[in-house]
């Protein structure tokens, strides 16, 4: 297997591993949404749940990391097939975009924890 192909297999595996993580996270997320929207959302209610909670911080940080990577690798496939964006440069950009989104999400999770 050449280097190029190894990278492609790695991206596919990351996509499936992040999918497995996301499957659990999304179930928790959907349940939380359905629970929380009853009677309307308020900052006090949301922050009451997340403020100072290491468990929620860890959950949302993992969730954001998996979602950022998963979304970027998925967009990479769509861009390759529907727009013809291929190659190592595009791959590097997608990986960077995925990690940047993840960092952005983790920053938001820290905000919910520290607010």
């Amino acid at each position: 297997m050449g280097r190029r192909m190894r990278g492609q297999v790695l991206l596919w595996s990351l996509q499936r591993i992040s999918a497995a993580v996301l499957a659990l996270c999304v179930i928790v997320h959907l349940a939380t949404i359905l629970w929380a929207v009853r009677g309307g959302l308020s900052a006090a209610e949301i922050l009451g749940r997340t403020r100072g909670s290491e468990a929620w911080l860890a959950f949302y940080a993992l969730f954001a990391l998996a979602a950022g990577l998963h979304a970027a690798i998925g967009l990479r496939a769509i861009a390759a097939e529907w727009l013809g964006w291929r190659g190592r440069g595009a791959d590097a950009l997608w990986l960077a975009a995925g990690l940047a989104t993840a960092v952005f999400g983790i920053r938001a999770a820290v905000g919910l924890y520290a607010a």
């Binding site: 297997m1 190894r6 492609q8 297999v9 790695l10 595996s13 390759a80």
Partner: protein, 240 residues
């Protein structure tokens, strides 16, 4: 069924419409042969066995790739109209004839040929060790009846979007050989079918399985390759 059948053929020069007599129990290949013999001697098409063994007569019939020798007109004609075109995703040589060379080149790239396992030094390879009824042999047999007609390749959207993609037929062949205990090229073959041009390009649209004339399941074969590669070497570090 009596009367006439309207057949629109996507010829190299452009679409041409023919009227042919509609008969009971005629196949699409019968209709094409009638056109070539009675109406248009210059019409190019391909067939050999006429009984669903050789895989050479496939073409697009009313938008869907099919083996024409085993496709009854009555089943596929819409309001007495047949639209015929060459197979998709392959270069057209002339009229209804496609160049199958790129298709079989992908089989070669996927290491789609049997390579016997090396026998230990001084021993004679024993090919009779695997009973036909054993689960191992049955797994290899699952995809072995492929006749190489190119119907799944023509139906696969991923092949259309990514011309380098090896496609369902070549990957089904590779999975068949990966499961053949007599074969000795397993690791090399898994490496040949990995990555964006290989099994990892498949999105499980399962059009290949939906159109396979032999009732095979290339989509499941490709899933099998992904699974095998994942558990052997998920990050491409070269193990296994």
């Amino acid at each position: 069924m009596e009367g006439t059948l309207t057949v629109k053929v996507a010829r190299s020069e452009g679409p041409v419409e023919y009227q042919v007599p509609a008969r009971a129990n005629q196949t699409v290949l019968d209709v094409v042969s009638y056109i070539q013999r009675e109406l248009e001697p210059g019409l190019a098409y391909r067939y050999a066995c006429r009984v669903g063994m050789c895989g050479s007569c496939a073409m697009t019939v009313n938008g869907r790739p099919r083996w024409t020798c085993r496709t009854h007109v009555a089943k596929v004609a819409r309001r007495g109209v047949l639209e015929l075109a060459p197979l998709a995703h392959l270069p057209v040589l002339r009229d209804l004839v496609t160049d199958m060379a790129p298709f079989f080149e992908k089989w070669r790239k996927a290491l789609g040929h049997f390579r016997p396992r090396e026998a230990p030094e001084g021993e004679i390879p024993d090919f009779a060790l695997i009973p036909p009824a054993s689960p191992e042999r049955q797994q290899a047999d699952a995809g072995i009846e492929c006749i190489g007609c190119g119907v799944c390749h023509a139906a696969c959207d991923i092949v259309g979007w990514n011309p380098d993609y090896l496609g369902p037929a070549a990957l089904n062949r590779a999975w068949t050989l990966v499961n053949d205990l007599r074969d000795g090229a397993g690791a090399e073959r898994l490496a040949a079918v990995a990555g964006d041009a290989g099994c990892h390009a498949c999105h499980s649209t399962q059009s290949c399985t939906a159109v396979c004339v032999k009732g095979l399941d290339p989509a499941a074969a490709i899933a099998g390759l992904k699974r095998r590669i994942f558990w052997q070497d998920p990050f491409g570090w070269g193990g296994g």
